[in-house]
């Protein structure tokens, strides 16, 4: 065996992704340090890691969102690198900088790249300059209502007003006509200030019915970039993904090839290193436009792992250690179809209200081509302070139809019970067996139209 790329990695996250990262570290011969807030004291990730440090109380602001905890824990345990997972500090360029200042390798892109792609108005301009298609809209942020009105009348209504510091569907407002624009603009600016501390917004044409298709990229420190095919994440509710799959059903080969080329060109244009996701919209006419670049591992990365056989956490770690990409574009083979279902402790009957509690029964599915990533085992309590993800169920099959049947079989054997606990399992079964989804004719509006329509 070759020497591990790092000696010890601190995982600055919780739940399933912390365990996911620890698993690959163990496989690479890297020791792990978990950090935990008080309610996560006995979590699976803490049990699995080689060491664990208590960094704060339940409130994320004082634990997983606070920089001193993981930094001090890493120094004290002698870690040489920090993996931020997704969410929390993972897209904060300051955290990457602080890691570097303390002699810790941040497993992710360079801070300046994170800063550039974190500004959604700026990255839109960078991608346009790199030749990628973007939706008609403002050149960067719109400073005034007058400017917003000018842009909107030029591109035509409806328009979407987006917070520059937002992303992942947070901080957006839709104006269907000129009369709505002042209110939408004001509300979005106010929200952006409150949530992101930055009131900058930009304006784009609003595409009502489209597919959310994202491309996984990997870039190394020598400037090599490959893409690992697309994921379709169109099954969303209020911009929260429920089901993700690959390949994107019904995508024609030319569009697929174009997406891959755009993704690589875009990542190269910003000097991207590590694992990243280029998000695109594909409208009903098949037109592709760039949306944003997520500078972290994605929740739904296992879908790509299932098709490629490539461990994305391993690649992140290797790239951060300065190793060259192990695969060339021509070696990337995409085989079969994979579907991820997010099993959340939420009550779809009560507007997806979180429904956490003690998991008195938590029998996860098994068997052929059935992967479960969860931070819980039977008997654990799901704390109410964090997201409501109980488990990611990922299945693979040679064809999409078989993968759908397999996902339904696996969901049918997934038994979760406990006082107050309600899950999205019945809804997921309903969605994946729906004729519109089974035929691949859904858009990002599908769940909304089905549940609220």
């Amino acid at each position: 065996m070759t020497a591990p790329p790092f000696r010890k990695v601190l995982i600055a996250n919780r739940g399933e992704i912390a365990l996911r990262i620890a698993r690959t570290c163990r496989e690479l011969g890297i020791a792990t340090v978990a950090v935990y807030s008080t309610p996560d004291r006995d979590s699976a990730a803490v049990r699995f890691a080689d060491e664990a440090v208590h960094i704060g109380p339940a409130a994320p602001r004082r634990s997983y969102l606070s920089m001193p905890g993981p930094i001090e824990a890493a120094l004290r345990c002698g870690a040489d690198a920090v993996h931020p997972g997704y969410g929390f500090l993972s897209e904060d360029p300051d955290f990457a900088t602080v890691c570097a200042d303390n002699g810790l390798t941040f497993i992710g892109p360079r801070p300046e790249v994170m800063a550039a792609v974190g500004d959604k108005a700026k990255v839109r301009e960078l991608m346009r300059a790199a030749g990628l298609p973007v939706l008609p809209g403002s050149d960067g942020a719109v400073p005034t209502l007058a400017e917003a009105e000018r842009v909107a009348s030029e591109i035509g209504y409806p328009v979407v007003v987006k917070a520059a510091a937002g992303g992942g569907g947070r901080g957006i407002g839709i104006a269907r006509n000129a009369a709505e624009l002042p209110r939408v603009l004001q509300e979005t600016v106010a929200l952006a200030r409150a949530v992101f501390g930055n009131g900058e917004v930009y304006v784009e044409r609003y595409v009502e019915r489209a597919r959310h298709v994202e491309v996984q990229v990997l870039g190394d420190q020598a400037g090599n970039v490959v893409h690992l095919g697309e994921r379709d994440c169109s099954l969303q509710r209020r911009n929260q993904k429920l089901v993700e799959e690959a390949p994107s059903p019904g995508l024609d080969p030319r569009t697929r090839a174009a997406l891959g080329e755009h993704a690589v060109a875009g990542a190269k244009a910003v000097g991207y290193t590590g694992a990243g996701t280029m998000e695109f919209l594909v409208d009903e006419a098949g037109t592709v436009t760039f949306m944003e670049l997520n500078a972290r591992i994605q929740v739904e990365h296992p879908v790509t792992e299932a098709l490629t056989g490539i461990d994305l956490i391993r690649e992140q770690i290797r790239i951060a250690a300065g190793l060259p990409l192990a695969v060339k574009q021509e070696d990337v083979r995409l085989s079969g179809a994979a579907i991820e279902c997010r099993v959340n402790a939420e009550d779809p009957e009560a507007d997806f209200r979180p429904a956490p509690g003690r998991l008195e029964v938590f029998d996860v599915p098994g068997g052929p081509w059935t992967r479960v990533d969860s931070g819980f085992v039977r008997g654990d309590t799901v704390p109410p302070y964090y997201d409501s993800l109980l488990a990611k169920l990922v299945v693979w099959a040679p064809t999409r139809a078989e993968a759908l049947a397999r996902a339904d079989r696996a969901l049918a054997e997934f038994v979760v019970a406990g006082p107050g606990v309600v899950t999205t399992i019945p809804l997921l079964r309903r969605l994946i067996s729906h004729p519109v989804f089974a035929a691949g004719r859904h858009t990002t509006r599908f769940v909304h139209e089905l549940l609220d329509g």
Partner: protein, 150 residues
């Protein structure tokens, strides 16, 4: 392990049992020794009715650990514990010192920031539990304060 070595270990385990049996009253019902990673286990039977406590006797012997007047000052974050504002300076609070709510009793350094740790209580410092310059976790007990009688 050689036969002799493990016979030696068992002898020591048995000695532990003897000590326990002398310390705790009652009829012994079970003894478990073990040797891998060591262990002693002793059980007692108590058929007789629970002994009634003489009236007037306090419910609990007064001892430090369970003292209801003892309170802990805990680390507000992960970092390095310091008893004094700088090396060689006078400690914020030695055992025996009186402290007031809000008074700084220690420092936890994290990311080169000195975070002052205030006492929440008014009382007397009984013990400082962490040595100067040692790393501490969130929530770790740093000092014990005996609060003023209520």
């Amino acid at each position: 392990m050689s036969e002799q070595a493990w016979s030696e270990e068992f002898k020591l385990l048995r000695a532990e049992v003897s000590s326990l049996v002398k310390t705790i009253p009652g009829a012994v019902s079970t003894v478990v020794l073990r040797s891998g990673d060591r262990s002693v286990e002793v059980s007692w039977t108590h058929q007789e009715a629970p002994v009634a406590r003489p009236p007037g006797e306090p419910e609990q012997p007064r001892d430090e650990v369970a003292d209801p007047e003892l309170r802990s000052v805990v680390a507000p974050l992960v970092g390095t514990f310091y008893v004094a504002p700088e090396p060689g300076a006078e400690p914020f609070a030695r055992p025996g010192a009186r402290v007031e709510p809000g008074q700084t009793v220690a420092i936890v350094e994290a990311m080169k920031l000195m975070n002052q740790v205030p006492s929440e209580w008014s009382g007397e410092v009984v013990e400082v539990l962490v040595a100067d310059g040692q790393p501490v976790e969130f929530g770790q007990e740093l000092l014990r304060v005996r609060v003023d009688g209520t």
